[in-house]
Amino acid sequence: GQQVMQIPQYQHVQEGEDFTTYCNSSTTLSNIQWYKQRPGGHPVFLIQLVKSGEVKKQKRLTFQFGEAKKNSSLHITATQTTDVGTYFCARDNYGQNFVFGPGTRLSVLP
Protein backbone atom coordinates (compact mmCIF):
# COMPACT_ATOMS: atom_id res chain seq x y z
CA GLY A 1 0.00 0.00 0.00
CA GLN A 2 0.93 3.63 0.38
CA GLN A 3 2.06 3.38 3.98
CA VAL A 4 5.23 4.88 5.37
CA MET A 5 7.14 3.40 8.25
CA GLN A 6 9.10 5.30 10.85
CA ILE A 7 11.82 4.11 13.14
CA PRO A 8 12.40 4.21 15.98
CA GLN A 9 8.97 4.40 17.58
CA TYR A 10 10.42 5.97 20.71
CA GLN A 11 13.76 7.59 21.48
CA HIS A 12 15.03 8.80 24.82
CA VAL A 13 18.18 10.94 24.74
CA GLN A 14 20.18 12.98 27.18
CA GLU A 15 20.13 16.70 26.48
CA GLY A 16 23.01 17.49 24.15
CA GLU A 17 22.96 14.13 22.39
CA ASP A 18 22.06 13.78 18.73
CA PHE A 19 18.83 12.20 17.47
CA THR A 20 17.81 10.71 14.15
CA THR A 21 14.46 9.39 12.94
CA TYR A 22 13.94 7.55 9.67
CA CYS A 23 10.97 7.39 7.34
CA ASN A 24 10.79 4.52 4.87
CA SER A 25 8.50 3.65 1.98
CA SER A 26 8.32 0.57 -0.22
CA THR A 27 7.36 2.74 -3.18
CA THR A 28 8.96 5.82 -4.67
CA LEU A 29 7.81 9.06 -3.10
CA SER A 30 7.08 12.16 -5.13
CA ASN A 31 7.93 14.24 -2.07
CA ILE A 32 7.89 14.01 1.70
CA GLN A 33 6.87 16.36 4.46
CA TRP A 34 7.92 16.42 8.09
CA TYR A 35 5.79 17.63 10.99
CA LYS A 36 6.41 18.08 14.71
CA GLN A 37 3.76 17.66 17.37
CA ARG A 38 4.51 18.86 20.87
CA PRO A 39 2.83 17.02 23.76
CA GLY A 40 -0.76 18.20 23.94
CA GLY A 41 -0.40 20.20 20.74
CA HIS A 42 -1.21 19.77 17.08
CA PRO A 43 1.15 18.90 14.21
CA VAL A 44 3.17 21.77 12.83
CA PHE A 45 4.79 21.70 9.42
CA LEU A 46 8.59 21.64 9.44
CA ILE A 47 9.75 21.08 5.87
CA GLN A 48 9.05 19.53 2.48
CA LEU A 49 11.63 17.62 0.42
CA VAL A 50 11.15 17.12 -3.29
CA LYS A 51 14.40 16.31 -5.06
CA SER A 52 16.37 13.09 -4.97
CA GLY A 53 19.25 13.38 -2.49
CA GLU A 54 18.00 16.72 -1.24
CA VAL A 55 19.37 17.99 2.07
CA LYS A 56 17.84 20.91 3.94
CA LYS A 57 18.86 22.44 7.22
CA GLN A 58 16.95 24.41 9.82
CA LYS A 59 19.33 25.42 12.59
CA ARG A 60 20.06 22.14 14.43
CA LEU A 61 17.71 20.10 12.23
CA THR A 62 18.94 18.39 9.05
CA PHE A 63 16.48 16.76 6.67
CA GLN A 64 17.52 14.37 3.95
CA PHE A 65 15.70 12.71 1.06
CA GLY A 66 17.20 9.48 -0.22
CA GLU A 67 18.64 9.13 -3.68
CA ALA A 68 15.95 6.59 -4.59
CA LYS A 69 13.25 8.80 -3.01
CA LYS A 70 12.07 5.91 -0.87
CA ASN A 71 13.36 7.12 2.44
CA SER A 72 13.99 10.26 4.40
CA SER A 73 15.64 11.19 7.66
CA LEU A 74 15.50 13.93 10.24
CA HIS A 75 18.60 14.52 12.33
CA ILE A 76 18.75 16.82 15.34
CA THR A 77 22.16 17.88 16.57
CA ALA A 78 22.69 18.54 20.27
CA THR A 79 19.09 18.04 21.36
CA GLN A 80 17.41 20.48 23.72
CA THR A 81 14.37 20.02 25.92
CA THR A 82 12.41 22.13 23.43
CA ASP A 83 12.88 19.35 20.88
CA VAL A 84 10.56 17.06 22.83
CA GLY A 85 7.61 15.83 20.81
CA THR A 86 6.57 13.42 18.11
CA TYR A 87 8.01 13.76 14.65
CA PHE A 88 5.88 12.60 11.74
CA CYS A 89 6.73 12.17 8.10
CA ALA A 90 3.90 12.37 5.59
CA ARG A 91 3.56 11.36 1.97
CA ASP A 92 0.95 12.38 -0.53
CA ASN A 93 -1.38 9.83 -2.03
CA TYR A 94 -1.58 10.73 -5.69
CA GLY A 95 -1.84 14.42 -4.87
CA GLN A 96 -4.98 14.05 -2.83
CA ASN A 97 -5.06 12.86 0.70
CA PHE A 98 -2.04 12.45 2.90
CA VAL A 99 -0.59 9.42 4.62
CA PHE A 100 1.22 10.08 7.85
CA GLY A 101 3.79 7.77 9.35
CA PRO A 102 3.20 6.50 12.90
CA GLY A 103 5.70 9.02 14.26
CA THR A 104 8.80 8.90 16.43
CA ARG A 105 8.31 10.13 19.97
CA LEU A 106 11.37 11.93 21.30
CA SER A 107 11.98 12.60 24.95
CA VAL A 108 14.96 14.63 26.11
CA LEU A 109 16.28 14.20 29.61
CA PRO A 110 17.80 17.38 31.09
Binding site: Q33, P43, D92, N93, G95, Q96, F98, G101, G103
Partner: protein, 117 residues
Protein backbone atom coordinates in the same frame (compact mmCIF):
# COMPACT_ATOMS: atom_id res chain seq x y z
CA UNK B 1 -3.93 36.14 9.93
CA UNK B 2 -6.10 33.68 11.78
CA UNK B 3 -5.19 30.02 11.70
CA UNK B 4 -7.44 26.99 11.52
CA UNK B 5 -10.00 26.98 14.29
CA UNK B 6 -12.05 24.10 15.62
CA UNK B 7 -14.99 23.91 17.96
CA UNK B 8 -15.73 22.75 20.49
CA UNK B 9 -12.27 22.30 21.96
CA UNK B 10 -13.59 19.56 24.23
CA UNK B 11 -16.73 17.45 24.02
CA UNK B 12 -17.98 14.88 26.48
CA UNK B 13 -20.97 12.88 25.37
CA UNK B 14 -22.85 9.76 26.27
CA UNK B 15 -22.68 6.62 24.21
CA UNK B 16 -25.36 6.62 21.54
CA UNK B 17 -25.61 10.40 21.20
CA UNK B 18 -24.75 12.29 18.01
CA UNK B 19 -21.98 14.90 17.93
CA UNK B 20 -21.00 17.63 15.49
CA UNK B 21 -17.47 18.92 15.21
CA UNK B 22 -16.74 22.12 13.37
CA UNK B 23 -13.69 23.30 11.46
CA UNK B 24 -12.99 26.81 10.16
CA UNK B 25 -10.08 26.65 7.72
CA UNK B 26 -7.69 29.45 6.87
CA UNK B 27 -9.37 31.88 4.51
CA UNK B 28 -8.62 31.05 0.90
CA UNK B 29 -7.56 27.47 1.57
CA UNK B 30 -9.44 25.21 -0.81
CA UNK B 31 -8.33 21.88 0.62
CA UNK B 32 -9.55 20.65 3.99
CA UNK B 33 -8.69 17.44 5.82
CA UNK B 34 -10.04 15.61 8.84
CA UNK B 35 -7.88 13.29 10.91
CA UNK B 36 -8.39 11.32 14.09
CA UNK B 37 -5.67 10.79 16.67
CA UNK B 38 -6.09 8.42 19.55
CA UNK B 39 -4.01 8.91 22.68
CA UNK B 40 -0.34 8.43 21.90
CA UNK B 41 -1.06 7.30 18.37
CA UNK B 42 -0.42 8.62 14.90
CA UNK B 43 -2.77 10.48 12.60
CA UNK B 44 -5.59 8.51 11.00
CA UNK B 45 -6.89 10.10 7.80
CA UNK B 46 -10.68 10.38 7.69
CA UNK B 47 -11.76 12.53 4.76
CA UNK B 48 -10.51 15.20 2.40
CA UNK B 49 -12.37 18.06 0.69
CA UNK B 50 -11.33 20.00 -2.36
CA UNK B 51 -13.73 22.92 -2.37
CA UNK B 52 -17.09 21.50 -1.37
CA UNK B 53 -16.57 18.07 -2.82
CA UNK B 54 -15.00 15.12 -1.10
CA UNK B 55 -13.03 13.07 -3.64
CA UNK B 56 -11.73 10.78 -0.93
CA UNK B 57 -13.99 9.41 1.79
CA UNK B 58 -12.05 6.19 2.15
CA UNK B 59 -10.87 6.89 5.66
CA UNK B 60 -14.26 7.22 7.32
CA UNK B 61 -14.38 4.35 9.86
CA UNK B 62 -18.06 3.53 9.44
CA UNK B 63 -21.33 4.87 8.09
CA UNK B 64 -21.87 6.59 11.44
CA UNK B 65 -19.32 9.15 10.30
CA UNK B 66 -20.16 11.83 7.77
CA UNK B 67 -18.77 15.21 6.83
CA UNK B 68 -19.82 18.12 4.75
CA UNK B 69 -18.38 21.40 3.65
CA UNK B 70 -20.39 24.34 2.49
CA UNK B 71 -19.35 27.49 0.68
CA UNK B 72 -15.85 26.12 0.29
CA UNK B 73 -15.15 27.09 3.86
CA UNK B 74 -16.53 25.67 7.10
CA UNK B 75 -16.68 21.92 7.48
CA UNK B 76 -18.67 19.79 9.90
CA UNK B 77 -17.81 16.25 10.91
CA UNK B 78 -20.79 14.39 12.34
CA UNK B 79 -20.61 11.20 14.33
CA UNK B 80 -23.92 9.47 14.88
CA UNK B 81 -24.67 7.05 17.70
CA UNK B 82 -21.26 7.58 19.25
CA UNK B 83 -19.36 4.64 20.66
CA UNK B 84 -16.61 4.62 23.28
CA UNK B 85 -14.04 3.74 20.62
CA UNK B 86 -14.81 7.06 18.94
CA UNK B 87 -13.02 8.84 21.80
CA UNK B 88 -10.03 10.63 20.32
CA UNK B 89 -8.76 14.02 19.23
CA UNK B 90 -10.26 15.05 15.91
CA UNK B 91 -7.90 17.29 13.97
CA UNK B 92 -8.73 19.46 11.01
CA UNK B 93 -6.15 20.83 8.59
CA UNK B 94 -6.32 23.07 5.56
CA UNK B 95 -4.01 23.88 2.70
CA UNK B 96 -4.00 26.21 -0.28
CA UNK B 97 -4.62 23.49 -2.82
CA UNK B 98 -4.17 19.83 -3.51
CA UNK B 99 -4.58 19.01 -7.16
CA UNK B 100 -2.71 17.74 -10.15
CA UNK B 101 -0.14 15.97 -8.06
CA UNK B 102 1.00 19.13 -6.33
CA UNK B 103 0.33 19.49 -2.69
CA UNK B 104 0.78 22.18 -0.15
CA UNK B 105 1.67 22.54 3.49
CA UNK B 106 -1.11 21.54 5.84
CA UNK B 107 -1.98 23.87 8.69
CA UNK B 108 -3.60 22.10 11.60
CA UNK B 109 -6.21 23.36 14.01
CA UNK B 110 -5.97 22.73 17.76
CA UNK B 111 -8.32 19.77 17.56
CA UNK B 112 -11.50 18.70 19.34
CA UNK B 113 -11.02 16.24 22.19
CA UNK B 114 -14.00 13.90 22.17
CA UNK B 115 -14.76 11.65 25.10
CA UNK B 116 -17.61 9.18 24.82
CA UNK B 117 -18.73 7.83 28.17
Amino acid sequence: GAGVSQSPSNKVTEKGKDVELRCDPISGHTALYWYRQSLGQGLEFLIYFQGNSAPDKSGLPSDRFSAERTGGSVSTLTIQRTQQEDSAVYLCASSLAASGGAWETQYFGPGTRLLVL
